[in-house]
């Protein structure tokens, strides 16, 4: 008896809660760490990037206006769904990164745990970063963090799922929406993550995921005037400089690539959240 022929998955882009192919019709071959063919991933174009930004912008008012409790619940839901697909992610990670099954499973677990960790931050970060300021006058004065807006993220090339969750969760937990460029060589877990997001109460457009070439797409996002910030976590040095220069055009907040490789399994601290928060300070007189 011959082995059953597997039904393969088609990996597409994730924009506005839908899974379109690239408008360019392009795709590229994704191979395992051993060089075996895994899939044809969509190769996103600048127009896909543009559409993703539109979707992210459209989603921003609703997502940033949702209660922090609600966002926390949604992120926790993502963790739940991820846990449920542990085996699938472990297999994809093993393929992409060439790690053993046990290590791959641990990497999935780490991503799930990180999501749970960030989910809990949604209604606490404001208390940690905000302040009632004792100004010298009869005024109530309160500072509180607010999301920056639409964030373009170049995902880190390694650490696949943990890295991906490590850059997406801190951006969205505070109310930002994002356009993520998946790791070019290992994009498949990103699209599987998109499937998780699509089925876990994350409103369409809050996270948009593009596969393809960061060198091709990232400059369009960095130069896009409706993007408020760029996270260059996965950009190589030349691309990072290009993007930072382009980002200057509308004074995007820029997170430069890390000076040293990041351990995505270590305690990330709050830096990746604070990088995409604005402090708003409200004054009001106090009087009868």
């Amino acid at each position: 008896m011959s082995e059953r022929l597997a039904v393969r998955k088609t990996y597409k882009l994730f924009i506005g809660g839908a899974f379109p192919r690239s408008e360019s019709g392009r795709s590229y071959v994704v191979t395992s760490s051993k060089g075996d063919f895994l899939a044809n991933a969509s190769r996103a174009s600048r127009k896909d990037a543009r559409d993703a930004v539109s979707a992210a912008r459209k989603a921003f008012p609703g997502w940033s206006g949702a209660t922090a409790y609600n966002r926390g619940q949604v992120l926790y839901r993502v963790a739940e769904m991820l846990e449920g697909r542990r085996a699938q992610f472990a297999a994809e990670i093993a393929d992409a990164e060439g790690v053993g099954a046990r290590k791959a499973g641990e990497l999935v677990d780490a991503a799930v745990d990180r999501l749970v960790w960030y989910a809990g931050w949604s209604d606490k970060i404001g208390a940690v970063l905000g302040s009632a300021n004792p100004v010298a006058g009869p005024y109530f004065n309160l500072s509180s963090p607010e999301p920056t807006g639409v964030v373009a993220v170049v995902a880190p090339p390694l650490g696949s799922l943990a890295g991906l969750v490590g850059v997406i969760a801190p951006v969205i937990v505070t109310g930002n929406t994002c356009v993520v460029i998946a790791p070019e060589r290992a994009p498949l877990p990103s699209i599987t993550l998109a499937e998780v997001l699509a089925t876990s109460d994350v409103p369409g457009g809050v996270v948009n995921i593009l596969t393809g070439s960061a060198a091709e797409i990232a400059p369009w996002l960095a130069g896009h005037m409706d993007v408020n910030a760029v996270d260059l976590a996965g950009a190589d040095p030349d691309l990072a400089v290009t993007c930072e220069e382009l980002a200057a055009e509308n004074l995007k907040r820029v997170v430069r690539p890390p000076a040293a490789p990041v351990d995505w399994l270590a305690d990330p601290g709050t830096d990746r959240m604070t990088a995409f928060l604005e402090t708003k300070t409200v004054w009001h007189p106090i009087g009868t």
């Binding site: 408020n228 930072e244 509308n250 004074l251 708003k280």
Partner: protein, 475 residues
């Protein structure tokens, strides 16, 4: 009629040298640059002094001095750094009258403002950050946050000494050393501050002041020995700086332009709203990045508010900045005056209606009367571009949602105003305005404990409060 007689503040209290060198490593040094320019009193065009426009070699020397001083200054215990900064705050208080007069002479702002707003805030800012110097481990940036190194700081001409305080106080408190470049039209209080550093026995090289224009600033922010760049000024220059630090590890904070909406709802306390509108746009001749330059007034009360506003504007007193009764001083420079005129003419030619109260203009100096444009559309240049002068654009709205939509319809996001007696509406509006500072039922209030800075193209990073420390710590 009750005519107020002239009540000029005495200028004998200030001692301006005919020319100044650069303040590097605790000494006045002769520059390598041979370029010297005059700084004038914008109210009279009288030459006040001559300053250097420092070149790359001079900037290099200043950065080297700061670099060298950093090694020792960053090792000084926080409690000792605090005492130096407290000393500076006290000396500023002691010399506040002199510094206020000097500021008004060089900048053109009314003495009432330099005396009652600028100088008290300058001293308060040093006092505030002095207290942080030995408490940084409690600031939420980890158990032992470290300074960045040498801060290259470039400040504007609208609040010369106050902007210096906003830059230098937190930098020193965190253990950084500083090379600061004041604006070329308003260098004198920064140069006076150099003397204050000496009176305070601040170690040499901790604060260095290099005068000059754009090229000096550019040399400073590009200098490889600078670890931190802080800039307050136009969005245009902010963009250039952001581009120039790309690919470096320099930490950057920018406090840039604005086009703030001041929203007056129909239930506002009208008399205080009118005061807030006036304070919002005519404070400091409108040379304020967070000025309430767009008045958004609910259509149902627009006529009443505008009548009251015009009546109030007729009482503004424009003239000699040193007169204690002056409300509106001189425009800081001929170039700025030209820009204000150009945009005002554009406002007229685009169809907005221009109004100014009767206002005698002095014969010499740079002056622009308080001006209100009504019938302004969102598409007009005067509703979109920062004028940085005493020019108010008035737009109307019908519903709260329309007010917020119009207010946010700008690339800027520095500040906004909300006037309503209804608490829930105020909080609703404040939460939806994409601006770093929201003044509700007040405007243009500042305090060292209150973070200040913008969203979007108004820049990034915050100055003031605990938040202001982050810009000067390796976090």
């Amino acid at each position: 009629m009750f005519e107020y007689a002239p009540a000029p503040e005495s200028r004998d209290i200030v001692d301006i040298k005919p020319s100044y060198g650069l303040f590097i490593n605790g000494e006045w040094v002769e520059p390598q640059s041979e370029e010297r320019h005059k700084t004038v009193n914008p109210a009279t065009e009288e030459v006040l002094s001559e300053i250097v426009w420092a070149g790359e070699a001079d900037v290099d020397r200043a950065v080297e001095a700061a670099r060298k001083a950093f090694a020792t200054w960053s090792a000084v215990p926080g409690s000792e750094r605090a005492k130096y900064i407290f000393r500076i705050a006290r000396i500023i208080q002691e010399r506040s009258r002199e510094l206020a007069v000097l500021e008004s002479l060089d900048n053109g702002k009314p003495i009432r403002e330099s005396r009652d707003v600028d100088l008290p805030l300058v001293a308060a800012h040093f006092f505030y950050y002095a207290g942080w110097a030995d408490k940084l481990s409690y600031a939420g940036f980890g158990p032992d946050p470290r300074p960045l190194g040498v801060a290259g700081q470039v400040i504007p001409w609208n609040f010369p000494l106050l902007m210096l305080a906003w830059k230098i106080a937190p930098a020193l408190a965190c253990g950084n050393t500083v090379v600061l470049k004041p604006a070329e039209t308003t260098p004198l209080t920064a140069l006076a501050f150099a003397e204050i550093c000496r009176q305070a026995d601040l170690p040499p090289g901790v604060v260095n002041i290099v005068t000059g224009a754009g090229e000096t600033g550019s040399a400073l922010v590009r200098h490889p020995g600078v670890d931190k760049v802080a800039f307050t000024g136009s969005t245009e220059v902010g963009r250039l700086i952001a581009r120039s630090v790309a690919g470096s590890r320099k930490k950057l904070t920018l406090e840039l332009g604005g086009k703030a909406a001041n929203i007056v709802f129909e239930d506002a306390a009208v008399d205080q709203a009118v005061e807030g509108i006036v304070n919002g746009i005519f404070f400091n001749q409108g040379h304020v990045c967070c000025a309430g330059s767009r008045l958004l007034v609910q259509e149902s009360v627009a006529e009443e508010v505008l009548d009251a506003l015009k009546r109030r504007l007729a009482t503004l007193r424009m003239g000699d900045p040193l007169d204690k009764n002056t409300d509106i001083g001189a425009i800081n420079s001929a170039a700025q005056l030209a820009k204000i005129r150009e945009l005002s003419e554009a406002g007229e030619s685009e169809g907005a209606e221009r109004w100014s109260p009767p206002c005698p203009i002095p014969d010499r100096g740079f002056w622009f009367p308080p001006t209100v444009f009504t019938g302004v559309a969102q598409s007009h240049r005067i509703a979109r571009e920062e004028i940085f002068g005493p020019v108010l654009s008035v737009l109307t709205f019908r519903t709260p949602a329309e007010a917020i939509e119009k207010a946010n319809n700008t690339p800027y996001g520095l500040s906004a105003g909300v006037w309503t007696e209804k608490g829930s509406l105020m909080l609703w509006a404040a939460s939806r305005l994409r601006a770093g500072v929201v003044w509700s039922n007040t405007f243009n209030r500042f305090d060292p404990a209150s973070p200040f800075g913008g969203f979007k193209e108004s820049g990034y990073g915050r100055e003031g409060g605990r938040h202001g420390l982050e810009a000067y710590l390796a976090v």
